[in-house]
């Protein structure tokens, strides 16, 4: 069997084609090879044979050798071909390729700070949010268990991006990826917004795209904190969400971040019935989640002063620290199925979400 290596940083910084290697026509042997060379995320892979990669590439009009981005921290070149190879490895359907190309372009935007995200000790994973018609067409789950297991597209798209970050970006745990513990989201973290259950504008429209556009948004996400509340009162619900957001050892309070809330459809309905727009929700959460600086340890407070004095002026123990610079920096999507749950997704801090349109030309 002929298989194509997945990317090898420092060797593939330019647009050269991936070299083919000969391997036994045996799944176990291929996986042994990938395991030995650290070309996988720890799970078995689909062998990226030339035929499979070619089949994947038929779903894009872009040139095989075109470089979409240089991926930090190793700055390997993410060519269309290398993105396709890693998509095959992850088990993606060929139709997922344009979305994946847009996601790679998004993570390379300067404001996303991929260098920091890839090399940090923080557990930050990259959360992919899909909006628009493509979510339904590719069956990307935005309802029951949308960030859990079970949906092929969610699982393999998130996994493919992680493989690109490792194999092209060179972020191997313990080497250039310095995560102290990491997080399960580093295997895969992808969902659609549940636009049908969203009483407000969907995320991509809020961020300036037409309702009929398909987009991918990437978020530097520390993890997930579930909030199960049977509260039926909008303002009270916002209070308990804000109380959950307050946590002293937080990159958000230290640096001023971009926290995200994945609001369950039932909670969204309660907030809408209370007459709250999405902007109202953000404003209220921003006010209610202000935290007295004295809640932080002395050392962390010193770090906060270093990072936010220019923004907030003198910071004393009684200063109320906002979780983000501006209320509108709080990200909100509506996702999930029926149930009294919403999810707080704390962010990396020095990173801002990026949205890219998934175009036919991808």
């Amino acid at each position: 069997m002929s298989a194509i290596p997945s990317g090898a940083v420092n060797v593939l910084a330019g647009d050269e084609r991936a070299a083919q290697i000969e391997a036994p026509d045996d799944l176990d042997a291929i996986n042994k090879l990938y395991r030995e060379r650290r070309w996988s995320d720890g799970l078995p892979v689909v062998p990226p044979t030339a035929a499979r990669v070619d089949r994947m590439l038929r779903c894009t009009r872009r040139a095989r050798d075109e470089i979409v981005a240089k991926v930090a921290p190793g700055f390997g070149a993410a060519t269309i071909e290398r993105i396709a190879i890693n998509a095959v490895l992850a088990g993606c359907d060929a139709e997922y390729l344009p979305l994946l190309i847009a996601a790679v372009d998004a993570v390379a935007a300067p404001e996303f700070n991929l260098q920091g995200i890839q090399a940090t000790t923080n557990p930050v994973a990259i959360w992919i949010i899909v909006n628009g018609p493509v979510a339904r067409r590719l069956e990307i789950n935005g309802t029951f268990n949308c960030i859990g297991e079970g949906a092929w597209a969610n699982a393999t798209i998130g996994r493919a991006l992680r493989l690109i970050l490792r194999n092209v970006g060179g972020a191997l745990p313990g080497d250039m990826d310095r995560a102290t513990q990491g997080s399960p989201g580093k295997y895969t973290f992808c969902c659609a917004e549940n636009e049908d259950a969203n009483p407000w504008q969907p995320l991509h429209v809020e961020r300036g795209f037409a309702p009929g556009c398909s987009t991918v948004t990437v978020v530097g996400a520390e993890g997930t904190m579930n909030m199960n509340s049977h509260c039926k009162d909008g303002p009270e619900l916002l209070r308990v969400i804000a109380d959950t957001m307050i946590h002293p050892p937080s990159n958000e309070y230290t640096h001023g971040g971009e926290p995200w809330i994945m609001i369950g459809p039932e909670h969204a309905e309660i907030l809408q019935h209370a007459g709250l727009s999405k902007a109202d929700v953000k404003q209220n959460l921003w006010e209610l989640s202000k935290m007295p600086a004295r809640c932080q340890s002395a050392k962390d407070l010193a770090r906060t002063r270093d990072s936010r004095t220019q923004e907030l002026g003198d910071i004393g123990p009684d200063t109320l620290l906002p979780i983000s610079q501006r209320p509108e920096d709080i990200g909100i999507i509506v996702a999930g199925g029926p149930g009294t749950h919403s999810v707080y997704v704390p962010c990396f801090g020095n990173s801002y979400a990026v949205t890219r349109e998934i175009t036919a030309a991808e």
Partner: protein, 70 residues
């Protein structure tokens, strides 16, 4: 900075040396001087950190002179 002709070196702690070397190489400066100091700083007093600085200051100066402009 080195590519712009400005003398540069990196000081990094032992826990980050793999990242430092790999990234210098990826950025086209495999010979970038890197001064390595003990990790972590967390429980060290200001005086202890000062002592660490004094023990490595000559090495840092030597690396700067070796590194020179690109």
């Amino acid at each position: 900075m080195a590519k712009r002709g400005i003398t540069a070196l990196t000081i990094c702690s032992t826990a980050f040396i793999t990242l430092g070397r790999a990234q210098a190489s990826a950025l086209g400066r495999p010979n970038l001087p890197i001064a390595v100091i003990a990790h972590p700083f967390g429980l060290r007093s200001r005086d202890e950190v000062r002592q660490m600085a004094e023990t490595c200051v000559d090495d840092v100066a030597n690396l700067v002179s070796k590194g020179g402009p690109a």
